[in-house]
Symmetry: C2
Subunit: 338 residues, 2 copies
DNA sequence: TTGTACGCGTTATCAG
DNA sequence: CTGATAACGCGTACAA
């Protein structure tokens, strides 16, 4: 049933070594005639090398691990899509694992990646500090690039690709302030994540710069989901907390917030302005279309795959941390453009 | 650096076989005392078995292949998310590959799954006929369950989980007809896919049943994307083709169609009614909220993983093809509910 | 209960 | 240019 290298060797009257040669170093080392004979047998039997066996032999699996919190979030869906696409071009396959933003599940994902001997992993971590698992990658010599969510690490085997969250939210907050808003609600994702912290800091810096007090009741910690954004706005409304703007930590949160505002009969942007983050495709279809901060997802994916492959090839990185520029996309959930 | 079973054996003064025993048949076959000693060494050295080596040895990789057209489509994103989740619970990891709806890329994805020796694959095929690759699964003894997109096959090693597309579109079309529409534009996905064909047929049957002619100019073949839905409507409008309803082959197409109609100043549902398919989360946030046909994604995922695991365990399937009931979700892009 | 020896499919080293 | 042969890490008859 399964045809192996051994079978080919036997049928072609050569040794396994020779077959292996025509398979790999396809340009040299084998006589033209024998090469043809071997290749013929390979073709006829439709032989495909067992990558597991090859993996155990040369310690390279041509597999990349991808660890993200949640694929159903369009941001990560698109990210994974792009990563898979670039990786496939480079002859790599991706092993996907989701953490649901749970640190303990992240540890288990990491454990899987190690036992399955992926050549490297791209990680959007659920946590902001280096955890045991991350060190284990080092220990096992598995390169790791942090994408989207930055984590401090001094490992030679790791790097990072992300946008400057702090700056992005500083800009967005400032836009809102310049537009006359002093009570800006902030709808955050899980605080465990590095991105959440950075985004909150950017928001705080902007407030400070304009000598506006950061009111704790304007901060809502939730998840990156529509439901969460919806709940935050509803709760603030119930608690009668006044605000004239909403800054959301992700577009899905913003979508939920907009939905809640609509149900409450609050006009956007006249009564409340809204800014999201990610620039997912659906934001533009909303009514009114969502003003947001763009994350260059394709670029994020491309650069992280490229960096990981360099790490795998032991190429020294020109820059261990690539920071991409965020960009404000002005649509209709904000009034004037500052 | 890397600690192997051999190392453990040496340190614990036992043979590899014994270590292997405490690792696998964890309940019996080893003396209580030696078991403790071996386990202690395993824990201390944080030994993790090499799943590649195990894979080549027992021909089981604990890996499931997942082949879908496009993860950035929310329907597939959610599907993959759920599949990964169920698989992870059952100690399996997923190898993801996207076909972009290209038959040749599907062949390459299949080839990868075979060389990487996945234990089984879940496939949402880009094609409606059995292609060479599908047969190869059979040849290599790899179980395969078709999800969402049905393909006829008589292999003992395959099954299918899907909703009744034909019936779903028959219902939706009838709803539109009963509501007074005779010129119903149909916005299809790629015709290669089985689902597209079935959906078109359901649409045609309903028209026939009501003796309405199926006008070719009302049929627009595109891709499952927002852009495609948008383009279809715009083109029909430019060509001055009259229609009073739009039936879309997927929600993303419907979203694009609604966007186009809005830009054209056509009121929904007063002038044109719209029905989508999938019931993705964003449909409900649209203005007006999208009437659609629900696909029970979580159920689709759960059943297909369960079926695949049964196939892998050589359990005979109670039913080779599981058909889930689609359900019309009435929202605001349609007028009266029939 | 425990150990020995071999097989799984591939690559790599070293002869010839 | 080609062929033995030894790894790679693990599971498992079979023997002790």
């Amino acid at each position: 049933m399964k045809v192996t290298l051994d079978d080919i060797a036997r049928m072609a009257n050569v040794s396994k070594a020779t077959v292996s040669r025509v398979l790999n170093h396809s340009t040299s080392g084998v006589g033209e005639e024998t090469r043809r004979r071997v290749q013929a047998v390979i073709d006829e039997l439709e032989y495909r090398p067992n990558l597991l066996a090859r993996g155990i032999s040369i310690s390279k699996t041509k597999t990349l691990g991808v660890i993200v919190p949640d694929i159903s979030n369009p941001f990560f869906a698109t990210l994974v899509q792009q990563i898979e696409s670039y990786a496939f071009e480079k002859k790599y396959t991706v092993l996907v694992c989701t953490t649901d933003n749970l640190p303990e599940k992240e540890e288990r994902c990491i454990a899987v990646m190690i036992t399955k001997h992926v050549d490297g992993v791209i990680l959007a971590s659920a946590v902001s500090e280096q955890i045991e698992g991350h060190l284990r990658f080092q220990k096992y010599g598995i390169p790791c690039v942090m994408v989207d969510r930055k984590i401090q690490t001094q490992s030679e085997l790791s790097g990072g690709v992300y946008v400057d969250n702090e700056y992005a939210f500083f800009l967005a907050t400032e836009q809102l302030i310049q537009s006359g808003n002093h009570k800006i609600a902030f709808l955050s994702g899980p605080v465990g994540a590095a991105t959440s912290k950075e985004r909150i800091e950017g928001y705080h810096y902007a407030l400070q710069a304009h000598k506006i007090e950061a009111l704790p009741q304007l901060m809502c910690i939730g998840k990156h989901s529509i439901q969460s954004g919806y709940n935050c706005v509803m709760r603030m409304h119930q608690d009668q907390i006044p605000f004239t703007a909403v800054l959301a930590s992700s577009d899905v949160i913003a979508l939920g917030a907009v939905q809640a505002l609509k149900e409450l009969g609050i006009r956007i942007p006249e009564e409340v302005e809204v800014i999201g983050f990610d620039n997912i495709e659906f934001g533009a279809l909303l009514d009114p279309p969502l003003t947001t901060i763009e994350q260059p997802i394709a670029e994020l994916a491309r650069r992280s795959v490229a960096m990981l492959l360099e790490l795998i090839s032991n190429i020294v990185l020109k820059e261990k941390n690539i920071r991409l520029e965020p960009k404000l996309i002005y649509r209709k959930t904000t009034k004037t453009r500052y």
